[in-house]
Structures are given as C-alpha cells and as structure tokens.
C-alpha cells in the first residue's frame, strides 16, 4: 500500500534498484491512460495493445535510461508516442486513406447516424485524418489533459509550437466534424 501511494518517480527509482513490484504498480497506473492515448492515435485496438506492451517492455529493458530530472509520465508518453508514430506511419504505407467523409457522406443524414457508436467512430476517423503532429498534441492536451509544458517535454518541441499545433489541430477537427458540432 505504501508503494502504491508513492510517486511515479519514487517507484521508478525502486524499480531501477531491482524491485519488480514497483514496475507492476507503474503498469497498473498507466496501462489504461496510455491505452486511451495510443488507441486514439493509431485507431486500432490490436495495434494499440501491441504498442502498449512494447512501451512497457522498453520501460523494463531501458530502466537505466530514465533520469529523475524528467517527469516519469512525460517520459512514458514520449516512448508511447514514438512507437505509435512509427506504427501509424507503417500503417499509412499499407492502407489506403479512408476519410471520415466516407461515413459522414454515406447518403444518410448526420442526425440518423449520430447514435453514440457511430459518432465515436466518426470522431476517431477524423482524428486519424489530421496530420500526426497535430493529432498527438490534441490528444495529449485535450484527452490526456497534460499541460503545455508536459506536452512540449514529451514531444520535444517548444511551448509556442505546442500551442500553434493545438490550434491548427482543433480547427482541422472542427472542419471535419462540423456536421456533428452543428447538431
């Protein structure tokens, strides 16, 4: 119980000393949060599950690479975002681009389609359609609710760029989701 109340950084320090229980607690803390982020990024559950496992394996294998200077969550998001980026890029090479317009312009009026499942599908497709650099900022800011500073640190860009990418990403999403927003 004491360990579960400890901060991420303390747990990581414990894990670096060789305590595998600390690792298990960290996995329990972050698996759902990271899953939400990675799934929204790649848009496929199996891929997201695989990326998530790979993220924790990296954490396990490269535990010595973590320095307590950085926030643990930021470091973990960086690993997950990089893996998700690589996977998304690979997927984009193999799959043809299917836009959100396919669903939204399928002949049915938007209000008939707009039950929750379809609405979520449309939003997910819109997310997949915007450029990856905007998507990751939007996801980290609006869904994961990280601060600008944390996002800047996780992605490795400055705060000004985070803000501009966030604004552009949101405006692109707004354009793609205007049917749903106008309801």
């Amino acid at each position: 119980m004491q360990k579960s109340a400890a901060s991420d950084e303390d747990l990581m320090a414990e894990f670096q000393k060789g305590n595998s229980d600390a690792f298990n607690i960290l996995v329990g803390r972050y698996k759902d949060r990271l899953m939400n982020f990675v799934f929204r990024y790649v848009g496929d559950y199996n891929d997201a599950d695989d990326i998530l496992q790979e993220t924790f394996i990296r954490l396990y294998v490269k535990k010595e690479a973590y320095a307590p200077v950085a926030k643990f969550s930021t470091w973990l998001y960086t690993i997950a975002a990089n893996l998700a980026k690589t996977r998304a890029l690979r997927r984009r090479l193999w799959e043809s681009k299917k836009g959100v317009s396919e669903l939204a312009e399928s002949g049915k009026p938007a209000d008939i389609q707009a039950d929750d499942a379809i609405r979520h599908e449309i939003i997910q497709r819109a997310l997949n359609r915007i450029p990856a650099k905007y998507r990751e900022v939007v996801l980290l800011c609006d869904i994961q609710e990280l601060t600008y500073e944390e996002v800047a640190e996780a992605i490795g860009i400055n705060i000004g760029t985070v803000k501009s990418r966030l604004n552009r990403g949101r405006s692109k999403l707004k354009e793609l989701l205007k049917d749903i927003i106008d309801e």
């Binding site: 298990n24 996995v27 329990g28 698996k31 759902d32 990271l34 899953m35 939400n36 799934f39 929204r40 559950y45 997201a48 599950d49 998530l52 496992q53 924790f56 394996i57 396990y60 294998v61 690979r90 979520h120 939003i123 997910q124 939007v138 996801l139 800011c141 609006d142 869904i143 609710e145 601060t147 600008y148 803000k163 966030l166 604004n167 949101r170 405006s171 999403l173 707004k174 989701l177 749903i180 927003i181």
Partner: protein, 215 residues
C-alpha cells in the same frame, strides 16, 4: 487548465474529445506483458526488434541488382552465347585445313607466308599467340589434325576421345568447304584483275608502238 481551452471557438471540439469513451487495456494485459518479459532473452529481444523494423530502402535495389545478375547469367553464360570476337577466334582456329596448319607451322618458325595472309584477310582477327596457346594448352591438336573444342553442355570426352573425333569429322568439313569457296572467289577476282591489267598494258604498248610508227 490550458490557455487554449479558454477560446470559446475550440470548446466544442474539446468537449467532443472529452466525451469520447475511455479505452481500457485488455484484462489479461498484465499477464501477456509478464509472459513477454519472461521470454525476453538477449537474442529474443534483438529478433523482435529486427523483425519489427521495416526493410531499408536500399534492400529493394539490392534485390533488383541480384535478380538482373541472375537473369543475365542464365541468358548469356549458361546458354552459351558468346561475344562475336570469340566466335571468330573459334572459326579461325577450328578447321583442319592443310594450308592453314601449314601456315601455322611456318608462323611458328617466324616466316610469313602469302597463304596465311589470305586467310587473315578472310577472317578479320589475325592469328594470335593466345590462340596457339589455347591449342597447345587444350591439347586440341592430334598430330597434324586440328580438333575443334566441344560446344557448351556437351559431355566430356572419354579416354578414347570419341566425341572429338566425331565432331572433327563433321563440322570442320563444312567450314573447310566454305573457306575454300571464299578463297576460290578471291582467287578468281584476282585473276580477273590481273587479266584486265595485262590487257591494259598490252593496249598501252600497242598504242605506244602505233605512235612510234606514225612518227
């Protein structure tokens, strides 16, 4: 929380994203993870990393180059197609022509024979030392008789040399014939030109004689 969230224009998008259902990891996620971690050896991890990486771009060009090499090997080398120079060498070298062999002998002695020149005019590439070396090294001469080399893919000669004797009986005769024909043509052309020259000389002499008589 964020400054951007204060912007009223962006709030609908943010609300939409916030209202998305949370995606959770699979219930057996931790089990799968521990299994993967337990199977992680040094080599296992390296293997998964290598397999997960996409092929580098130059790999495709390497494959293409290898394919072209294989195809050209089978087309040009395995099929026995040779460059024109080699063919001419063979043609010049192979026939068991008495005159030819005689010139060769004379050439070996260092003498230049008219007959040999004729042959070299007929076939553009001249007799070379390399060719003779080949004939010596390959032991393709049996006494005075030249034996052509075996074509590609033909069975090796037996101890008795049946194959080579059979070929030397058939193929060189045809080549010999064609060579003789061409030599005959050349000779006839020369005879014609000689006769013409003689006629012209006679005519000139006659004219000169007539002029003298007139004077």
């Amino acid at each position: 929380m964020n400054d951007a969230s204060k912007n009223p224009e962006d709030s609908p998008v943010k609300n939409l994203l916030k209202n998305l259902p949370e995606i959770k990891a699979s219930p057996d996620f931790e089990e799968k993870l521990s299994r993967r971690i337990n199977t992680l050896g040094k080599w296992g991890h390296l293997g998964t990393r290598l397999l997960r990486r996409p092929l580098p771009v130059f790999a495709y060009s390497l494959i293409a180059v290898a394919a072209v090499g294989m195809i050209s090997y089978y087309i040009f080398i395995r099929s026995g197609i040779q460059p024109a120079d080699l063919k001419q060498d063979k043609l010049q070298y192979s026939p068991a022509q008495p005159a030819n062999s005689a010139t060769r002998k004379e050439e070996e002695k260092g003498a230049v024979v008219e007959e040999g020149k004729k042959v070299s005019r007929e076939a553009p590439s001249s007799l070379s030392l390399g060719k003779e070396e080949r004939s010596d090294k390959g032991k393709l001469r049996m006494g005075d008789k030249d034996i052509p080399p075996a074509p590609f893919g033909a069975p090796k000669t037996t101890a008795g040399g049946e194959y080579r004797s059979a070929v030397s009986a058939a193929a060189p005769q045809a080549q010999l014939k064609s060579l003789r024909d061409s030599l005959a043509v050349i000779d006839s052309l020369r005879l014609d030109s000689l006769q013409r020259a003689q006629k012209q000389l006679k005519m000139k002499e006659q004219k000169a004689g007539q002029r003298k008589h007139a004077e």
